[in-house]
Symmetry: D2
Subunit: 406 residues, 4 copies
């Protein structure tokens, strides 16, 4: 039986993606739009007793003072990302969520993020220990305030620079010592958020390429508290197309000589990724998929550049140069023009529903059946989208069979 | 154990594709190029004891007086489709094949093909019965002349107009009556070739959208003579990409509003398809795949136009307009620049090898495990390329297991 | 000195383009948007004493019952063609214009237009003579009602099928006889509108490929009444790019082998052009420009297709195959994604201002200095956009010099 | 009257471009191909008594040991840049030119070039003075050996890093002092070559973005010796298209928000440009044109990346985001697929002919009438291609008139 009330706690709550998640959930719940884009509404997944979207209660963290409502207006007016007709009926809903947003943390978040943080939101003298307690308190208070059965925490914040994950992040007790010793340079916000979530027994989803829960210490913590988690980096646009197209070359024995991808995008994401240090993890997770599918690394790579006039929209041009029979060279190009927030938001709702289900069923640790949602799926080497989809279907079918057997 | 000598009888032997098939087989056999493009050389298929490429003996039918050697020179010099450095060492091989080409038939082949036919090659008074006997004789003589274990017939000729397949082509005895009565307007060359092949116990592959063996009467004949056959219309370029991309939209619950595809190509294929009547079957087989995968028919359609300057090359531009979450519209475009002969030739060799294997194993009727090679795979509703590939793998694995069990 | 009050009478007043013209004029006049897109606001044209945009009074004809205000809402909400934030402040303005729209005529307007016409708007028994008197009356009443110095009539209606312009349309008296004899099959609405305008002394601009004023009889009439006129077919998108790009190939002595252009568009324009008969004039005017610039006709042609999901937006893909030194073939492709109404509307305002100026200066007949605004500029063989621009500049400079000399 | 024998001395003689120049000149002279791509063969230029292509004698410098003949074979076989059928009849011609190539200099040529230089070709102890004398000697000996009326020196070598042009390169006597003092870090090969040429009275053309003759000291030298010179950086592909397209946005008052250009190319040019230091000048000359035409600098920039599989071919994708009426945003993209050597070679021949003509006519200093050939035309602010073309036509017409007047 699906639960009545479930919390969704969004990290980066005032961002374009979190706002679209909230607008979308409310619009669907109120019947203002259809369910296009939601994987969990496909016929193939209907067998699972997933929570209804109108049962979701939203809250979250942000490091800026802003407003979900104002962001929604921006996305509608400036970017044509959200239909403007939708907003008036959602004003009360969005305003209510604004009251559920708490200060996050920008400790060691990298140059392009820390510059965005409101300096009055976090005291400079707050130790890591204090931060963690504060964050954990936010989650627990949210749960109690709304009498929630469960809360799923989702990281939707901007990409952090890579974190050298040394020995200190391997074992849980070492990690705890690092917190106690207030070693701020060896940690990042995504890790602190993940820790606060898992420690409190709240499932954690990392939709970004930031480190999040992918360190062994937190894996250990999740299993200890019986909590499921997963990531990293939602697969929404250019990379999705790549993992759909690349198998073509394998199955036809065509040799990919070069695969060069150029992404241009605006918005805050684009602005943060302009910084070479923040771009690193993103590019890495985008580039890994090809070698994983082809079995070799074609010449090329992925480039991401900020073009402010694009707003929330992204254009990607990929040039694929390949060799066929008798050494003859041919090419395939594609141009992807999408709105990341619109592509990602329904997947975030899908992940919240599927994670809540897994948690309810007592599953813990990395949810590898969710690989198809991520560019860099934890513990899964399969990058072919079709095969990842089959993994999800298998999970669904097993559960459906078990439920029907009862 | 793989056989020593197998014949490959190509319909449209002087065409760009047949010539590339021959050049490729000989170049690979002589170690002049690697095996890129050959599906049967992939690790996944290595378990099957397929015939080696140097065991192939080529012959075929054509309705023009020309030469495989001259066509190869043309493809190298004018089109940069075949590397020019390859040809000198293959001259003797290609000249030898020229001597194995026999006159085909252009009876009711449609306006754009019949105009190409050399009028001196087939007597106007030849009845259908005579034609069939002549063609059957060509195959049998070829087999005897070269002491071949087996001969696979492959249709690589230009696309015929659609044939109204009435009741007369349903049952074998009706079909035979139609031949006896010399009803030339109710038949087409691809059907006559298929009949001649199957009657003689020779497997038949239809790489074109022409009717070929897809009428029930010939299905009956194939089973009677215990011969395998398959088709139609090799899946090499734009359609291949479509059947790879379309599932993306399904699995992400994105609604394809319009999918418009424009193909421009030169060469004889382009010239024949310029004729609206010949284009019909091609367009139909190209358009069917999307509805098959998406479950609905998006607005759009496929356009094919002749652009002589492109020679053997084809450029396709596809514009896919789709709707995501909250009704927001996005697009994906792709541009495919390929050489059809180069893409198709290795697949033709793969089909010959896999067909010979099936025949050797005593299999008869439509070889549905070969669906991944065709735009319009007989008796198979699955158009998703990844899934068609899994069907082939399953066949391979079953045979491998059976062979290992011995 | 610029005039105080000038009328702009738009044919197809409820269409997307006319609505955008009105919205734009009012938005600029009220300072709600800047002057991007208006050629007459360029520094190079500032010397001319053109009428200010806030001096324009709008009215027009349409064959449907609809509303400029409703169309504006549609364009904002459904198509994201007009910024939605703009409309509330313009509601009164647009509502006022709705009261100035009169029934047009759909006599012999072609199948795709006549089906749109409200049958109650024009009595079936109305003769051509009656129609012409009615239309002329509308113009005169509009002028008097608003005490206008001048009224410019602009054809923005959908494209009509070609009209066989026989001997009857050569001389004015023959034309008049044809009206008297009520020969409805030998005339079309664009011609009737043009006649009504010119006869009343109102300048006429044809922004469509329909026949309009391009028949010799109306040329004669314009000179007789001392009225300027011009057309045909506004140059806004793909064709504009073509007339900018094509000279490149001339000046570099590169031979264009093929130039294939595919246009997909939605909206009413797209729907009307779906009809082969209506498409004819459009395609003809789009195709003429290349031969005019290159001096030869490259293989190819222009294709226009209706894709409803695109709404007011158009995507064009052009593939240009060219030959360079040593016979080596290369290509240039472009993809144009524009909103025709947004591209055309400021040009319509430019044309109204420049036409009013010419009329005020006593100029009559075809205004060849406006060639740069049209795909098929009357009486001008120069299709190179840069050169057409120079023609306009020369006109501006002559007038400026004359004005300064006074 | 046109001269009988003129020398063309190519810097980077074994490169793909120099080789294509030579192959092309010889092929045209022998009637093996037509004159497509040669600007000087256009009707508009026919009035000038330019030297016939069969009067050209080729020689040059290179820093590698290689061969024009071998490079030609490579370009034909590997890259399909030169038609392979052309070469056999030119073997003797190309072999003869191999004997006319002398060692150049790689002093301070930048990391990516110096690594290519054969270390045995230039003694490490050779002073700048010695180098200059050696180079000057090569030119003079070439002239005498072939009894040439005139020799035009053309720089076709790879792009050098920028040279800080300090006070020392301003005045000629300072420059001479720098040579005497052997200050190798303050000079680059392109400057030494230019100096050797101009000092000997040989016109100099810089087809690359390297410094070459663009320093004031050499300008002074050219005037002193009455020699014409010009550059920099041949305009052949993406930039050519940009200078053709950009005026469209000006004349229609459309605001270019972003113009992002991505170039991918193989070959030696691509390899050298991979080095950030060498790329600098190229990118700078590519980026300057837009601001020059638009009057403002849109967001964006030019990116160049090495993709070895492309060989001599280049693909450029440009994304132009622009704002029209009412703030609505639209886009234009183009994809250029060209072979730089094929595009540039005829222009090099044009420049040699036009330079020889100017020299013969007694013209000296920068030949600003050649602006249309260059990305960064010395002393000319006009970047619009059409207007640059008119400048050339004006020059031609003046000379034609003068010649006819005689």
């Amino acid at each position: 039986m699906a639960p009545k009330r479930v919390g969704a706690w969004l990290i980066g709550a005032y961002g374009a993606l979190a706002t679209t998640v909230v607008v979308g959930a409310k619009a669907v719940a109120r019947g203002l739009c259809d369910r296009t884009g939601l994987v969990t509404e496909l016929a193939e997944l209907r067998g699972l007793p997933l929570l209804p979207l109108d049962g979701l209660v939203f809250g979250g963290w942000d490091i800026r003072r802003f407003s979900v409502w104002k962001r929604a207006e921006e996305l509608a007016a400036r970017d044509a990302a959200i239909p403007s007709g939708l907003l008036p009926s959602l004003k009360a809903d969005l305003r209510a969520i604004d009251r559920e947003v708490r200060p996050g943390t920008a400790v060691n978040s990298g140059p392009a993020i820390s510059v965005l943080a409101d300096p009055t939101m976090q005291s400079a003298s707050e130790t890591l220990h204090d931060t963690v307690e504060r964050l954990a308190g936010d989650l627990e208070a949210f749960r109690l305030r709304h009498r929630l059965d469960r809360v799923v925490v989702v990281n939707l914040a901007s990409t952090e620079p890579p974190l050298k994950v040394g020995r200190k992040l391997r074992r849980l007790d070492d990690f705890l010592r690092l917190i106690r010793q207030d070693r701020r340079q060896e940690i990042s916000p995504s890790v602190l958020y993940a820790y606060a979530a898992l420690r409190g027994g709240f499932p954690y989803i990392n939709f970004t390429p930031s480190v999040g829960a992918s360190i062994p210490a937190l894996h250990e913590l999740a299993l200890k508290h019986q909590v499921p988690f997963y990531g990293n980096d939602g697969k929404t646009g250019e990379t999705l197309v790549k993992t759909v197209l690349a198998p073509l070359f394998c199955y036809r024995n065509l040799r990919v000589l070069s695969w060069k991808g150029y992404n241009i995008l605006g918005g805050l994401d684009g602005m943060v990724l302009r910084d070479q240090r923040h771009k690193l993890l993103k590019v890495r997770s985008k580039e890994r998929v090809l070698a994983g599918i082809l079995g070799y690394r074609p010449y090329g790579g992925v480039s991401i550049e900020y073009v402010p006039s694009l707003g929330s929209w992204k254009t990607a041009w990929d040039f694929i140069h390949f060799e066929g029979f008798l050494g003859t060279r041919m090419s395939l190009q594609f141009i992807w023009q999408g709105c990341d927030a619109i592509l990602a938001a329904p997947l975030v709702l899908d992940l919240i529903r599927l994670t809540e289900f897994a948690h309810r069923r007592g599953e813990a640790g990395p949810m590898t059946h969710l690989a198809c949602f991520f560019k860099d799926p934890m513990g899964v080497k399969e990058h072919r989208f079709s095969h990842q989809w089959e993994i999800l279907l298998q999970y669904v079918n097993q559960h459906r069979a078990a439920l029907e057997a009862r």
